[in-house]
């Protein structure tokens, strides 16, 4: 119950900001909420299925580049046209990369996802035709005003949360958790575990694509730095900070990281060390992250 109230209050507060008209907060919280979508979708894999994927940022970046591509080359601007295209691009990529990566397990799986992320990164970074390391502008954004973009992001965040929560409550979600616990047992019970994992991977990748689409909408700028293992690592950090396997925890983690990155600089020049200390402290002493604090007390 406590959790529900917190989430509702948070959603309302974030939604209210849309009316403030403050250029900075609209952009800052918009970006933070995109991080929340990324974190939650990654939690589906990390927290509930037990798959640590470093490819998440690849789908994020791919969708963003897809928007730049269809807008700049094909002249499509209407979000009703561009959004499905970009979503499809991200989902298709997730299908292919997921199918290939899931042939490996454990740490090898992590490394294969890393390999694909890096390959995509270099594809965009090294091709002048695709913008190279300087990135590309999106000639005309799907929505013009900052406030409209913010509302779109907010809506996506709420819908993503509801969707993921629904999936996880359903039998499908239970199977995923079973796989996380003991995949062999699930297989012996007759479940085609790889198929389940692949579906989760595609859903997560598609949501990451939604985040990428929204990011390109917010800024009108795409860059290879958005792909690559460093970005993926940051998303993992938010999942950890927030508490994996709780769905809302990672969203909190993303918000926390955004605020620390913003205000940390005022505190010290070595603010990176601050983040490092935080990460280490959370790993060692607060393994359940922020969500652990919210739930309170010890759970059996």
């Amino acid at each position: 119950m406590r959790r529900r109230i917190l989430l509702l209050a948070g959603a309302l507060a974030l939604g209210a900001v849309a009316f403030s008209g403050d250029r900075f907060w609209l952009q800052f919280l918009g970006k933070a909420m995109i991080g929340c979508i990324l974190a939650m979708s990654l939690d589906l894999l990390v927290g509930f299925t037990g798959l640590v994927s470093l490819a998440h940022s690849a789908f994020f970046g791919l969708a963003a580049y897809a928007l730049a591509g269809v807008t700049n080359r094909l002249g499509l601007v209407n979000p009703l046209l561009t959004f499905p295209v970009c979503l499809l691009a991200a989902a298709a990529a997730a299908l292919i990369i997921g199918w290939l990566s899931l042939r490996a397990t454990g740490v090898y799986f992590i490394m294969v996802t890393l390999a694909f992320t890096q390959m995509l990164f270099y594809l965009f970074n090294d091709s002048p035709a695709l913008g190279g390391s300087d990135g590309l502008y999106v000639a005309e954004r799907p929505v013009d005003s900052r406030a409209a973009a913010y509302v779109a992001i907010w809506a996506a965040l709420v819908l993503a949360y509801l969707l993921l929560a629904r999936i996880l409550r359903a039998p499908y979600g239970r199977v995923l958790e079973g796989i996380r616990g003991n995949e062999q047992r699930m297989r012996s019970l007759g479940y085609p575990t790889r198929r389940y994992k692949l579906v989760a991977f595609v859903i997560a990748g598609a949501l990451a694509g939604v985040a990428g689409y929204l990011d390109a909408t917010l800024y009108g700028f795409v860059n290879p730095a958005q792909l690559g293992w460093r970005q993926s690592g940051l998303i993992l950090v938010t999942v950890l900070l927030g508490g994996k396997g709780t769905l809302y925890g990672p969203a909190l983690g993303a918000l926390l990281l955004a605020f620390i990155e913003h205000y940390g600089e005022r505190v010290t020049e070595h603010w990176n060390a601050l983040i490092a200390a935080l990460i280490i402290a959370v790993v060692l002493f607060l393994p359940r992250g922020l969500a652990g604090l919210v739930e309170g007390g010890r759970r059996a």
Partner: protein, 391 residues
């Protein structure tokens, strides 16, 4: 009810304009935003640019146009992915009066996207991407450093005069390298030179052995390269180690040796480079600047510090004319365009596209020091392809 975007932007611009003029009128502090790298590989550049600016500010008693300067620095980490957020932090969050920076051209591209929509005076203090004063030029955007074309084009003439008609090009394959090579080829082919091979190295890869073997096999008259920072240090050392230093003369824009000369040691001996500045420049402004910089920071000034220094001096001159009113729009821009400085790099002024018009020097490493051989190109002006201002 739908408000056109124009109307909204107009209203927003007006309100910021009014608030800026109000703040100027009441003598409020002048907020200068610094979008620079203070961590990562380019941190040294970020610090030098910043300190160059502070040295200049100190010379003006910490006041520009009668207003006290307040520095607001954001570490851009040379990360284009975080750039839009960082730019917004400065413009929308801190509401800076003037935005300066960055080093990395990817960050500059992100910055230009936003800056062209907001009406904030922006001074680019390093990134040499052509587009900044080319296709993306804008009345309120100025650059005090250089354009990639300016530091590469003159080298072609230098090499041709030295009798090198067959050259191999080697460069990092991103905008800086690509634009450098395009400029070089423009000058080189005009003078009858032939490019035997173009070796594009993915950025920021520093494994050069394979390519150096290629060069050794090709036996060109000379080699023109673009690398900078630690990569340049390694390249020069590898070049010497492969035995090429004595066999094939090495040329490049000044970034090949800037900041890394001591690290390169004897391997850099004899390298000729073209740049809009040299530590050894023999003019009064340079001597004074280098002294002040050394006294203030304990480090030696370099081309990056000069950009910072000139940025603040430019602002001092222009803001002085409009009595510190950063909201003065057209008057301020006109004042900036009329800037004339006795910069440590020589005479300094802006072109119509707001890029510096400056002398490009030919330097050579002799005895472990950068020696100025002469002026490779006088009053070099970037062609500003695609800029529609002042035309």
């Amino acid at each position: 009810m739908t408000l056109s975007r124009r109307a909204l932007l107009g209203a927003a611009a007006c309100s910021t304009l009014l608030s800026r003029r109000l703040r100027a009128a009441t003598g409020a502090r002048l907020k200068i935003g610094l979008l620079l790298p203070y961590s990562g590989t380019y941190a040294a550049l970020g610090h030098n640019i910043t300190d160059g600016m502070k040295v200049a500010a100190a010379e003006h008693g910490g006041k520009l146009g009668g207003r006290e300067v307040e520095w607001v620095a954001v570490d851009d980490e040379s990360d284009p992915a975080k750039a839009p957020a960082n730019v917004n932090k400065l413009i929308a969050g801190e509401k800076v009066d003037i935005l300066t920076g960055p080093v990395h051209s990817g960050v500059a591209m992100a910055m230009m996207q936003i800056v062209r929509q907001e009406n904030v005076l922006t001074i680019v203090t390093n990134a040499g991407a052509q587009a900044v004063t080319g296709t993306l030029c804008a009345p309120h955007v100025f650059r005090t450093s250089f354009s990639n074309w300016q530091v590469s084009y003159p080298c072609a003439d230098v090499m041709l005069k030295a009798g090198h008609k067959r050259a191999v090009l080697m460069f990092w394959n991103y905008s800086f390298g690509q634009e450098s090579m395009a400029a070089f080829k423009e000058g080189y082919s005009k003078g009858g030179g032939a490019v035997v091979k173009e070796i594009a190295v993915p950025f920021p890869n520093t494994e050069f052995q394979a390519n150096l073997s290629e060069i050794a096999a090709l036996k060109p008259d000379a080699v023109f390269v673009f690398f900078a920072g630690a990569g340049a240090a390694k390249f020069v050392k590898d070049y010497a180690d492969a035995g090429l230093q004595q066999k094939v003369p090495l040329y490049g824009s000044g970034f090949l040796t800037e900041g890394v000369l001591t690290a390169q040691g004897a391997a850099a001996e004899g390298i000729k480079t073209t740049l809009h500045y040299a530590d050894a420049l023999d003019n009064a402004a340079n001597k004074k600047f280098r002294e002040s910089f050394k006294k203030a920071t304990g480090r030696d000034a370099d081309v990056y510090a000069v950009a910072g220094y000139d940025t603040v001096n430019t602002l001092a001159q222009a803001l002085g004319k409009v009595k510190g009113d950063t909201g003065a729009g057209k008057e301020l821009i006109a004042a900036l365009e009329a800037t004339r400085l006795d910069s440590p790099r020589g005479p300094f002024r802006f072109s119509k596209a707001h890029n510096p018009v400056q002398d490009i020097y030919l330097r050579q490493v002799k005895g472990g020091k950068e020696v100025v051989l002469g002026v490779a190109m006088k009053d070099a002006e970037d062609p500003a392809a695609g800029c529609k201002m002042g035309k």
